[in-house]
């Protein structure tokens, strides 16, 4: 049996009524593959994984896998994950979000989770559009592009999710694309093993909505565009900002040691127990 078939049998829910909700050619399957490969390599028990999602195409991911799974409200996945992690720190908490989920409606939760440095891994599938609701403008839709709510042209500047995570104080930030599946696997593995708030931004394509409205071609053609636009961190470091316009910088953006929230809170508990009154 090929390795992926074994993993499918091991990690997918057989009592879930397939088929899944995603369009043929969507990049989310590559992300899901990377997720279970990384979990399998590290050797987590299925019982210790909690997969939390918000709303949108990415929000539907947890239901298909055999972990503790939690499908929450739009943009709020990180808040639920915070509660789960602090209540039971032995659990490995992984959050799945889309671009609208993470940095539009959930933008405030995202920067604060990064600032607190709670030990949670956040995977953000960035496909530049609201896919499930039919292709509306998202905070990562590039300037000048079309969507069903910017039919004349998008006049807003877009967020750079990874840079936002770095600035907000995340301990680990990596960016990959669904074209670079192997890099994605290794970024996820690194993120899972990182103590602290870790983020992997996964550049994907929505050929059904974003691609069709902007005449970017099929899923395969859009993945080839990812290949052509991608620049490694090492190469990007030697390039000028204007040369990096329209490029996707991939690799590890940040990996630093910071005090982890739960460890700090354990110290607070000891301090509280030592104090009188209250």
């Amino acid at each position: 049996m090929p390795e992926i078939t074994k993993l499918i049998h091991k990690y997918l829910r057989h009592d879930k009524k397939f088929p899944h909700v995603w369009c043929p050619g969507c990049g989310i399957g590559i992300m899901l593959g990377g997720l279970i490969r990384a979990i399998d390599r590290i050797g987590y028990e299925k019982d210790e994984i909690v997969l939390v999602s918000g709303i949108g195409c990415s929000g539907r991911l947890p239901v298909y896998v055999d972990f503790n799974t939690l499908h929450t409200t739009h943009g709020r996945a990180l808040t639920f994950a915070t509660g789960v992690k602090l209540a039971k720190p032995s659990l490995k908490v992984i959050v799945i979000m889309g671009d609208g989920d993470a940095v539009a409606i959930g933008g405030n939760h995202f920067i604060h989770a990064a600032r607190r440095n709670i030990d949670i891994t956040t995977l953000i599938l960035n496909n530049n559009i609201y896919g499930m609701t039919g292709g509306q403008n998202s905070p990562t839709t590039p300037y000048g592009m079309r969507s069903t709510t910017t039919t004349y042209s998008n006049i807003e500047q877009s967020f750079n999710i990874s840079e936002l995570a770095v600035t907000a104080g995340a301990a680990f930030v990596g960016r990959g694309t669904v074209y670079h599946a192997r890099l994605l696997d290794s970024l996820m593995e690194k993120a899972f093993l990182k103590k602290g708030f870790s983020v992997v931004e996964i550049i994907s394509h929505c050929h059904t909505q974003y691609g069709r409205q902007n005449r970017l071609g099929t899923a395969v053609e859009m993945m080839e565009q990812q290949r052509d636009q991608a620049i490694t961190m090492e190469k990007a470091a030697k390039m000028k900002p204007e040369e990096l316009k329209d490029k996707i910088v991939i690799g590890v953006l940040v990996d630093k040691e910071l005090p982890v929230y739960q460890d700090q809170y354990e110290k607070i508990r000891e301090k509280a127990k030592g104090s009188v009154g209250g």
Partner: protein, 372 residues
Amino acid sequence: MLLQGNEAVAEGALRAGCRFFAGYPITPATEISEVLSVRLPKEEGTFIQMEDEIASLGAVIGASLAGVKSMTATSGPGFSLMQENLGLAIIAEVPCVIVNVMRGGPSTGLPTFPGQGDVMQARWGTHGDHPIIVLSASTVRECYDMTIHAFNLSEKFRTPVILLIDEVVGHMREKMVIDDEEKIEIFNRIKPTMPPEWYIPYEDTPSGVSPMANFGEGYRYHVTGLTHDVRGFPTSRPDEIGPFISRLHRKISSHFPEIQIGEFFQTEDAEITIVAYGCVARSAKRAVIEAREKGLKVGLLKLSTLWPFMRSAVEKVFQTSKTLIVPEMNMGQISREVKRVNRGVARVITLNKVDGTIITPMEILNRIAEVS
């Protein structure tokens, strides 16, 4: 012990076994956060101040799913922000407690003054058709007891429970005895005992409540805000949605005697009965005592459970009283319910005040004089 209502809420939560609190500062509820930020770490619990009230309730629901009794506290504006995740806690059947220390409104309104304007928001605030349990308190001791009751009901029925108090009760100080030896019933959620492969997380039972597995204890299942089948998986099949939503209502509606708490004070022969809750019930009690001294047959029905509405208690009052007075610090929220169950048996008189000051015993006495 001389305790403030808000402090008594915190003490009650600890006694009930609450070990997780997430909140956001807001007057007049902040003392609950402050006390628990000091006390919870001593008890191996966790306190976290979140970025807003949406996040606070999200964290509370997450912590409860991981097996820890959890609570948040807020006031009107924050309570509005919680309505989204409140719906998720209802549909996913996650026990938790939300305390709303009501102030004057709408909007920023009167942050440091009392109000009772959130009775209907507590009932209908979140979207979609849903059942809800809402309790209230009118003394410091009741803040303690009703917080424990709120936790017990939330664990028993796998549902969020809201405790509505008001600025007066939250900030008022009264003598209160907490006896650690006192026998207080504490209810913990029923957990599954069958092997994980037999566990059906949203299976119907005679009580309508299914056993609840905590994350990380071997029962891997799916929790979602979508309508779901008995296994927790999203469904759009009418034959699965109908029974599911009906069960959500039935698990509350078939347990009214356990949920509904009220106090009948001198109502046996009362010709006029006052129906009140929160700080207004205190003034109402004083008014009843003074009216009785004047020889008037007046009684009080104090509602400690606001929702589900205590229809049978009000109907009992109708047996003797042909006049009901409903004083409230809003334009008439509970009085609507009293009128609804009245069906022409009695006169329902309102007494509404929305200027940020309490309804005094004298104002209630004056209304009694007007109608008797």
